[in-house]
């Protein structure tokens, strides 16, 4: 299915913030799951108010989308729990850091 038209997209800055609802929609997860990710330390809301009561007003960097999706995939496909997925994410971060240097 080759498409020959050249597509021009809208550029989204790496620093762009998205709401918790947008994050849920991008990753097909529920707010409750996002809260567990924050509590596990996988995700950092940008305003640092990590109490679950404030979840509705949380905002995340756009890069959180990939993080959440990876965490979800790892749990589903590899049978690891949330802590295991968190550890894998941190090690993946470290590998990326090392490869950059």
């Amino acid at each position: 299915m080759a498409e020959h038209k050249t597509l021009r997209g809208q550029l989204i800055e790496a620093e762009t913030l998205i709401s918790v609802d947008e994050l849920c929609r991008h990753c097909t997860v529920r707010v409750e799951e996002v809260i567990t990710f924050v509590q596990e330390g996988i995700l950092d809301p940008s305003d640092n108010e990590v109490v679950p009561e404030k979840a509705d007003s949380w905002q995340f960097h756009i890069s959180s989308v990939r993080r959440v999706r990876t965490a979800v995939h790892l749990q589903r496909d590899l049978g690891v729990n949330l802590a295991g997925a968190a550890l894998a994410l941190e090690l993946l971060d470290r590998i990326a850091e090392l490869e950059k240097a």
């Binding site: 997209g9 790496a14 589903r76 496909d77 993946l92």
Partner: protein, 317 residues
């Protein structure tokens, strides 16, 4: 359609226990998981392993598969014998398994189609409108693309429903404009290029996260670009004008006399172009020529006599 040897794919014997099969699956899944793996065609491998496990982990499906007999070879042309599945009732959908966007024709000829549609949220056929899913993918571009802008063909594996309603995975190639000045981590949002809407709902968006191809002699930090530049000892000591590759083309760079390894020369504004362009940092390195004949060894001997030089003076030895 080709016969698939699920035992071979999993690397287990035909009489492997369920525990052995699970262990083999876990190991292979970690090795080929697309979010983790650096293997070539990890995604295809992961999919194949997932399909094999879907069959072998389930005693009913495994017994039925074994019943096909052992005379088949992997890759052999295959048609299921008539009535082969008599007496089996395959229960359950693929809930909990990897979301692989459909299994092979071989699998579907044995266990039926649409395995993975069961249990997917938001796929009910009731007549309500729903926006399509947003899709996300990473794309690798060259640093030069960010300097000049470029049009790149990007191939994504997408799952879609075909005419008979089964999930198929097929490559989709898009030509995408990479805007000048793009940086790592930025995303390109292509409106309406994500999943199809349901019940007449609009299509979702496609987000492409940009990363630079690491096989390049440049390192990128934000909008700044770093390049390690080897110099001959005399170029560093005496000063020189040398040719330096930059993503925007070759430039002549003046090396000041007395330059030391590790010193950075900044080329202002020659990093990634933007409203506030980044800088290009040339990090000097000194490459030592080998002394391979008597003449060349004499030059080093002469240097030794001329310089009272202790490179380890800072180490107090």
């Amino acid at each position: 359609m080709e016969y698939k040897d699920y035992y071979d794919i999993m690397g287990v014997k035909k009489d492997a226990t369920q525990d052995e099969i699970k262990r083999a699956y876990r190991k292979l899944a970690r090795k080929y998981h697309p979010d983790v793996s650096k293997e070539a065609d990890a995604e295809a491998k992961f999919k194949e392993v997932g399909e094999a496990y879907e069959v072998l982990k389930d005693p009913e499906k495994r017994t039925a598969y074994d019943q096909l007999g052992s005379q088949w070879q992997a890759g052999q042309e295959f048609h299921p014998p008539p009535g082969w599945d008599a007496g089996f009732e395959f229960s359950g959908g693929g809930a909990g398994g990897p979301d692989l966007g459909g299994f092979s024709d071989f699998f579907e000829s044995l266990y039926g189609r649409g395995f993975h549609q069961a249990g997917q949220p938001g796929r009910s056929s009731r007549g309500f409108q729903m926006r399509g899913d947003d899709h996300h993918a990473r794309v690798m571009v060259e640093l030069e693309d960010s300097y000049n802008g470029a049009t790149r063909s990007i191939t994504l594996q997408v799952s879609a429903l075909d005419h008979s309603g089964r999930v198929v995975t097929r490559p989709r190639t898009l030509k995408v404009r990479i805007p000048k000045g793009i940086r790592r981590g930025q995303q390109i949002r292509l409106a309406g290029q994500g999943g199809a809407g349901h019940g007449g709902g609009e299509a979702g968006d496609l987000y492409l996260e940009v990363d630079f191809n690491p096989r390049s002699h440049y390192r990128v930090e934000g909008a700044d670009v770093y390049l390690d530049l080897p110099l001959a000892p005399w170029e560093a000591a005496l000063g020189a004008t040398v040719k330096v590759p930059t993503p925007a083309g070759v430039v002549d760079l003046k090396i000041p006399a007395g330059s030391q390894a590790g010193k950075k020369l900044r080329l202002k504004g020659r990093g990634i172009p933007a409203g506030e362009p980044g800088d290009l940092y040339v990090v000097l390195q000194i490459a030592l020529p080998k002394a391979e004949n008597e003449e060349q060894r004499r030059v080093y001997q002469a240097m030794k006599q001329q310089f009272a030089f202790n490179p380890r003076a800072g180490m107090e030895v």
